[in-house]
């Protein structure tokens, strides 16, 4: 039996060793984070920071690419809060309005949703993140002063389909969803997000007419309604494809790719009318203690490093905001992973400002058609 002194001694040595390793790791990590100069004045570390995230492959990718390496470098644990983005929003707004500490440190959010929070004035400015200088224009939110949000990648709402349901070849147009054999076999997001703009083109309208005249979009969506589409959220699409409930869907390519990874026969295209391209980002709510704000900023700064982006976005299969990232092998040349000017010509981008100002009306109109 080991005497108490020896046990104590062994514990101290082990703790010292771990401490030393953590210090080395932290200093190496912080150097990567671009805060090595500030190391001497580094604020007190919180025991954890909370990052709101989407579940499934989304949070797995974030953990593998950003959170784990952040913890390794700083010693700060990262907890992922899987509350839906729409549901965390009013909680944050209420916390800021009541001058309470917000429930999370970092919100991983759609740029449109995040822009609402920025317009409401509940976001911290992130202009001072050192790694912003290494990013492309995609990282900058359009129509907002400074960086209340940092966009971290782009994504495309593709037309995902089951090849066996299209024996004559891949669908070429969104109008192919009107094929009678697809009645009850297609799916859209339950607020129509991702479908309004291509529907405008498929309905014979022009993108320049958005938002003034979207009647062509509503007419086309009314035709799609006759096809009795299922309406759901991100996880539903993967489930519906897996359970054989649908043959085609307008969904983010990540969901289709996830279903394919799970062994489902699935492919996707950007139809001739184009597909919506949008961005997601990270932002920090106001009201955090100074030290926690500092480390939350370091987390986002770390998410903008090439190394973190490469792993994170390999998992999501999406193009990032740092130049020089290598596309995943299965997405090289894929229209859902745009990298060149030519790729972007087939995609539809509408400014966040127009989306934020009109989204409620578009959602309401889509619901009116689909619930009628």
């Amino acid at each position: 039996m080991m005497p108490n002194e020896k046990i104590l001694s062994a514990q101290i040595r082990r703790r010292t060793l771990l401490g030393s390793m953590a210090a080395v790791g932290a200093s190496a990590g912080l150097s990567t984070l671009g805060v090595s100069k500030a190391f001497a004045q580094e604020p007190e570390k919180p025991s954890e920071i909370i990052v709101r995230a989407w579940g499934g492959s989304w949070v797995d990718s974030l953990k593998a690419g950003v959170s784990d390496s952040f913890t390794k470098m700083t010693g700060i644990a990262v907890r992922h809060d899987l509350t839906e983005d729409n549901e965390i929003q009013p909680k944050i707004w209420a916390a800021v309005a009541q001058k309470r500490t917000p429930p999370i440190h970092i919100n991983w959010d759609t740029t449109t949703n995040a822009t609402k929070s920025a317009l409401r004035g509940v976001t911290e400015d992130l202009s001072d993140l050192p790694n912003l200088k290494n990013t492309t224009d995609l990282a900058k939110p359009v129509g907002l002063d400074g960086y209340p949000i940092v966009n971290t990648y782009g994504y495309v709402y593709v037309l995902a389909y089951r090849p066996s349901a299209f024996p004559n070849g891949a669908p070429k147009s969104w109008k192919d969803l009107l094929d009678p054999k697809l009645k009850g076999r297609i799916a859209l997001y339950n607020d129509g997000i991702g479908f309004h703009f291509p529907a405008q083109v498929a309905g014979g309208g022009k993108l320049e007419d958005i938002p003034a005249n979207m009647q062509p979009a509503w007419d086309f969506i009314a035709k799609i309604k006759e096809q009795q589409p299922l309406l759901g959220e991100d996880p539903d699409f993967t489930t519906w494809f897996q359970k054989g409930e649908i043959d085609a869907a307008c969904t983010i390519s990540t969901n289709a790719r996830e279903a394919r990874k799970n062994g489902i026969e699935l492919a996707w295209v950007v139809p001739e009318e184009g597909a919506k391209f949008d961005t997601d980002g990270l932002w920090i709510p106001k009201g955090l203690p100074e030290n926690e704000l500092y480390w939350a900023k370091q987390y986002i700064n770390h998410a903008l490093t090439k190394e973190a982006q490469q792993v994170w976005l390999d998992g999501l299969g999406l193009p990032g905001v740092v130049p020089g990232l290598t596309p995943p092998a299965d997405l090289v040349g894929d229209p859902s992973y745009p990298t060149t000017e030519e790729d972007f010509k087939h995609l539809i981008r509408i400014s966040s400002k127009v989306q934020v100002e009109n989204e409620s009306q578009w959602f309401a109109k889509f619901k009116e058609i689909m619930q009628g």
Partner: protein
Amino acid sequence: MRHSRVAYPLTWRVMDVFERLAAAVWPSSFQRGLPYLMLLPAVVLVGLLVLGLIQIGDSSLRTLDTSTFMMSENYTLANYQRALSEKFFATVAGRSLMGAVIVTVITLIFAFPYAYLMVRTPSSALRKFLLVALFLPFFIGQVVRAYGWLIILGNQGMVNEALGLVGVPPMRLLYNYPAVLFGLVQYMLPFAVLMLAPALTAIPAELESAASSLGAGWVRTFRHIVLPLARPGLVGAGLVVVTLSLTDFAIPAILGGGSQDFIANAIYDQFFRTSDQGLGATLSLLLVAVGSILVGVVFMLFGAGTLAMGDERK
């Protein structure tokens, strides 16, 4: 003196102290206030609800400014105008009301024989089985039960697989209005049985025997004895089922495939999808109003059933 101390043990003395303390804190003249004191927690809870409703009422009179995503400073009836004029809200409200009525009728039809058998069966084993079957669903949440139906009724679910064995191709059993109503009936059935059982227990079995001995058949006995005497239970169960169905969220969301929203789903969308708390608050208040009117009409026509007390229970 010493003898007296032995005869009056320490524990009694402690109790005396407690009694004196209690008398000081709550004199006997306060005894009449005791029932009111016991009501206090409930009053506080209801008071909090009322405060919440006042807050919601305030929000309902403010509109969303989409340039700042803040609620307007001034009051307006614009949200009420929208809620009462837009076709979407009328559609959803109509679907919810119709659904609540259909679910209530079907649930009562199914619950009545179940409750009757449970109360009247001479077999204690059967009664226990029915009770267990009744309470088991309470241990499984509404969402889990709804997902269970997805597994059973899905395109690759058990029902379609069974149909496939006899050559019937897979058919869409989910994501439509009947699926939502089916899910609601299954969810409401235990509530209705629980509300009906006490009313049926209160009907003396001798009355049915007497009717039978006087020549009444089973149908006449049921129609003229059981049904009228079970009315308080039917009204109470109906009220619970209709209000719960009218305000349900999960079943329409999960089994409706996104196209069979009830009012609660529309309220959720306003609060969480479009960030329009004003319109969400308006719809919430209108739902409370519609539900209250519905219950009021039932009270006027049929009484409060088992929900009433004392002499009012007819």
